[in-house]
Symmetry: C2
Subunit: 296 residues, 2 copies
């Protein structure tokens, strides 16, 4: 039995292109979001408009949640009654980034209602979402994964089954964000040191990018660290949040994460400088101020 | 005028294959090292044996130093009198990893003796040294670089002229080592978190290595973190030293380097656990002990 009717809640920068991809794959997609223009865009792509989260869930085989965090997922499922509206045996797929313990708690409440659950956070950004080329880190019993496989494979081209237990998908995403955040802050630390030594930024990126010092983030964020006003690809405050989730997960597991903690402080400092909405490459500004340049 | 006669001091894991490459390129190479077998290997490759650093320097157009650190370079140049033995107008090329301030001090003493100096640390490891494929980060006036270019291009295939001032080559290398060391420690932190969550290490490396979390170090050191006794490619104590140089340079420049400092503590902890001579991927063992696994 493969899923035919899909409810989709959260039609933001990620969720809207994901829901559109499902609609184009001939799924019946009932989407809900508070933003009218997102609903209109989904309808134009062949999807359907729901007037509430509960209506999106009504009669659905699968309910996909691409909301901002675990608190919003809980609000949709329980306060807005989407969970109790879903048919018995339906599957909830949570694709938002959330802390592993929060995801496990949501799964437990859904199980009590006779609902299946897939913990399936993603990486790949809006580009991957639009192209149907997300990386999906899915945790659930194998039979549950198989039931929603056609849905997941319409959204991503790299589907990893990382474990049987809800929260393990979130744990993989958390570890992923740990490295992403630390790599951006480490690059900022390195570039601030290079600038203080009077070295040319572009030449530094060329040298480091071709050596053992290289990283995906160096090639992506490095050039933006040399721009005064880079386009915002992902904001400083996203890593204030995501490294916060990393540290919360570490605290829950009684696990010391000294580099993540130091990196988080630098994103916090950048946010405290008023740069929370700027591109996350701007964490280098916090280092520059520490290096003696007056704040702009 | 291109260099014909080269003195080469320091025929270790890096220096020996570098000196052999020069001998094979038809330079006259007089090598010196305390290890007899290294001298024999150089002679077999067409080089010449010197009985002291001063003899290696005698009549040389270029004296290359590939010793362990700045203290050894000073000992060779000044205590062992290689500098005063060099002909006036000869060029000293320091390729060892040293702190920028130490390199600048050596350059100043050599200038007082009428000698030119190129600050030219390398990256690429023994593999790059053997293949003549090192990355060379050279700082010196342009004319000096041009004079030794044939020598440098026999040793590396990526020659960057990073500045005019001695110490700037060392600064680039320092920034490079900052990222290398932080990336290894960050990966260890990530893998320890994944293990604590019960996630499969190989699968984690596959997921992270194909995402924005990827780094050169993840692909190189990651698999070794999953081995009990990996071959020693570079030892834990090398990063105790190199991140120590990074932090010394930061201190000299009054520059806070919070991630480097945290990473250094983890390499120190691994060394304190008795793992200083093990492969640097073993820094993950320090995290594992912090995560609650009894020390082995």
């Amino acid at each position: 039995m493969s899923a035919k009717k899909i409810g989709f809640v959260g039609l933001g920068a990620m969720g809207l292109p994901m829901a559109i991809n499902l609609a184009r794959k001939q799924f019946h997609v009932a989407g809900f979001d508070l933003r009218e223009e997102a609903l209109a865009a989904l309808v134009e792509a062949g999807g359907h408009r729901a007037v509430s989260a509960a209506e999106a869930a009504s009669g659905a085989d699968v309910l996909v949640l691409m909301v901002v965090n675990a608190a919003q997922a809980e609000a949709v499922l329980f306060a807005a009654r989407a969970a109790e509206t879903l048919p018995k045996g339906a599957t909830v797929v949570l694709m938002a980034t959330a802390a592993p313990a929060q995801v496990a708690a949501i799964a437990q409440r859904l199980a009590a209602l006779g609902l299946d659950f897939v913990d399936a956070p993603v990486s790949g950004g809006t580009k991957g979402a639009t192209a149907g080329a997300l990386t999906i880190m899915a945790a659930a019993p194998k039979a549950t994964i198989e039931r929603v496989r056609p849905v997941l494979e319409s959204l991503g081209d790299k589907l990893f089954h990382v474990g049987e237990t809800p929260g393990q998908g979130a744990a993989v995403k958390t570890v992923n964000q740990l490295l992403c955040g630390v790599h951006i802050a480490a690059l900022a630390e390195a570039m601030a040191m290079a600038e203080k030594a009077g070295l040319d930024g572009k030449l530094m990126l060329q040298i480091l990018g071709g050596s053992a010092a290289s990283s995906w983030m160096l090639h992506d964020r490095g050039p933006r660290m040399l721009e005064a006003e880079p386009v915002v690809s992902s904001a400083v405050d996203i890593f204030v949040k995501d490294l916060g989730i990393v540290l919360d997960a570490g605290r829950a597991a009684k696990l010391a994460l000294p580099l993540s903690a130091a990196a988080h402080q630098m994103f916090l400092a950048a946010s405290g400088m008023g740069l929370g909405g700027k591109d996350d490459s701007h964490v280098v500004e916090a280092y520059r101020v520490l290096a003696g340049r007056p704040p702009t």
